[in-house]
């Protein structure tokens, strides 16, 4: 038995194809991104080694920090909106008829491609014939703004589309976690006279703290990497006011063919994502120990 199950040849046969794929297409590229960041390179011609020039340029690049700030706002906003999703999930799991169907309906936008969502929302925000402005006009607001062309409004407008896209996803996760809490625990608290709010705050939320932690990582790191919808909807505009790190990297690399600088941004993005993931896990780890 053990002999069959520790056959080295079979193990390599089963593991190597997948392992080679992720090594060549994920791990080697992230190392190379850091390395290409040290080069002056247009993607076609010869590479010239320029040391840390791209990275020092990155630190002084106001446009980059502008995009990083937008990514940060997006991350903050996504993390805060988790509270709302948690609230909705708490309601959904409190003896609501049709809760299962409702959470499925909420999920539908998340299954659509970001391209389709971006195109649809560009129409929703259309200055004259869009849903939003037509509605605003019908309730008496005469000059509703052109949402996606207004530098101060474009980010909030995109946030709303992102909420629409992801709300169902987080509600689904919280719903599943809350359903896993044994009914007897909640019943016991109820008999002791705890109010629904107390039960939610003192029992349910602490019990799903692990899941909440995962969703915080997902929301923040997901926001830092966010690309598709913004790229299609505004391309980072107007005038960079909706640019995020990933779209800025894409524009530098595949728009102005500055592959060296694009690589430096890509490598920086990787570092931010890894550090933030590690940081959130660290910060939330102690809390969890107290609870259990």
């Amino acid at each position: 038995m053990d002999k069959v199950m520790s056959n080295k040849f079979v193990i390599s046969l089963y593991v190597l194809p997948a392992l080679l794929l992720i090594l060549t297409l994920i791990y080697v590229p992230i190392v190379l991104t850091g390395y290409y960041g040290l080069m002056k390179w247009d993607g076609i011609g010869e590479m010239t080694f320029i040391g840390l020039e791209n990275y020092t340029k990155l630190i002084q690049d106001a446009d980059f920090w502008g995009s990083a700030y937008h990514s940060f706002l997006l991350a903050l906003f996504s993390a805060v909106s988790l509270i709302g999703y948690l609230g909705i999930s708490l309601i959904l799991t409190s003896k609501i008829k049709g809760a299962n169907t409702l959470r499925k309906i909420y999920l539908i936008p998340m299954l659509l491609s970001s391209v389709a969502i971006a195109q649809l929302w560009s129409k929703i925000y259309h200055p004259s014939n869009g849903m939003v402005n037509s509605f605003l006009q019908s309730i008496g607001i005469d000059n509703p703004p052109a949402w996606l062309a207004e530098p101060s409004l474009v980010l909030p407008a995109i946030f709303v589309a992102i909420i629409w896209q992801y709300a169902g996803f987080y509600i689904l996760i919280y719903y599943a976690a809350l359903k896993n809490i044994p009914e007897s625990l909640i019943e016991a608290a109820r008999i002791d006279g705890a109010t629904p709010l107390q039960i939610a705050w003192k029992i349910k939320i602490p019990l799903i703290a692990g899941v909440i932690k995962v969703t915080i990582v997902l929301a923040i790191v997901g926001s830092l990497k966010y690309f598709d919808l913004i790229y299609v909807m505004t391309g980072g505009g107007p005038n960079g006011s909706s640019e995020v790190i990933a779209s800025y990297m894409y524009q530098k690399a595949f728009g102005s063919y500055d592959f060296g600088y694009g690589s430096a941004i890509g490598f920086f993005l990787l570092l931010i994502c890894l550090v933030v993931t590690w940081l959130i896990r660290k910060l939330t780890a102690t809390k969890e120990e107290i609870q259990y």
Partner: protein, 293 residues
């Protein structure tokens, strides 16, 4: 206090609160219902304007029903806009990548949970860390790599990348199932002299079919919707999938709402149909794929 007395006081409290709680529940249902409407209505609105012509879009209220549904919007974009070709490409690229991902991931999960080897932990770690890598941090080297292999503007570049990037999530979902699966059946098969390959293909793989189909569905949705890789690696119409195809097509038909709506509807209908029939599987897969991270 006896349990009966306890039950009584509880009952009384319930009666006192019932009017209040009825109102409370009414408000809650209203909130939940409103959210459902907000999630669905944009899609209904999209469907309506996909059946209108510009005349109707610009002169009537955006909330009106299409007076004379222009189904020809759909037939027109299907033929004029290469949408048929993009649709076909989406299907075969998605299916090829899904089959490869699920099969390779099953091999790996089998080797990690069933076989004994020293490096299994670190190898699993490599797959799991893969979940955290941002796509944009791999894009330039991947582009360069495929360029050198003459695979830029070749569908293989996309199929391989989809497979690699979906392996970590797929393995994660499979692992949970493999760990809970009793090993007795497999042990008995080995005792009976079953070879390891027969064990995998004829015993383990059939037993894991439920989770395999869950991961297949999740992978299908992700691949169907993927945008960054296909937009970067593929430039000729011949190999474009729906996501990037509709993006270019809409760019050309900026002002024709009906055509845009019809194109978008065509791209999302397969997902909506899949959801109609497989919603439980999809919900289960998304939940399994997110929480265990």
């Amino acid at each position: 206090m006896s349990t009966i007395a306890q039950a009584n006081t509880k009952h009384e409290a319930k009666r006192k609160n019932s009017a209040f709680s009825k109102l409370g529940y009414g408000v809650l249902y209203a909130i939940l219902g409103l959210i459902a409407v907000l999630q669905i209505y944009p899609l209904i609105w999209l469907f309506f304007f996909s059946l209108k012509d510009n005349q109707e879009v610009f002169n009537e209220s955006p909330f009106s029903l299409p007076t004379d549904p222009k189904w020809e919007n759909y037939t027109r974009v299907w033929t004029d806009g290469n949408i048929g070709l993009y649709f076909f490409n989406s299907i075969w690229i998605t299916v090829t990548a899904v089959v490869m991902t699920v099969l390779l991931a099953s091999f790996v999960t089998f080797a990690i949970t069933r076989m004994k080897w020293k490096l299994s932990k670190p190898v699993l770690g490599l797959f799991m860390v893969g979940l955290m890598i941002p796509v944009h941090s791999t894009l330039i080297p991947l582009f360069d790599f495929f360029l050198k292999l003459n695979l830029i503007d070749h569908p293989l570049s996309v199929v391989l990348t989809y497979t690699a990037f979906n392996l970590p999530l797929t393995i994660m979902i499979l692992l949970g199932f493999y760990y809970t699966l009793p090993k007795e059946v497999e042990e008995a098969a080995i005792m009976d002299g079953c070879s390891i390959h027969r064990l995998f293909f004829q015993v383990t793989l059939p037993m894991t079919l439920p989770v395999v189909s869950t991961t297949a569905i999740i992978n299908m949705i992700y691949n169907w919707n993927e945008f960054v890789f296909i937009n970067t690696f593929i430039s000729s119409d011949q190999y474009k999938t729906l996501t990037v195809g509709i993006q270019n097509f809409i760019g050309q038909y900026m002002t024709e709402w009906g055509a845009i709506g019809a194109t978008l509807m065509i791209s999302i209908i397969p997902i909506l149909i899949a959801f109609l029939f497989l919603s439980n599987r999809i919900v289960e897969g998304i939940a399994a794929g997110s929480v265990k991270g």
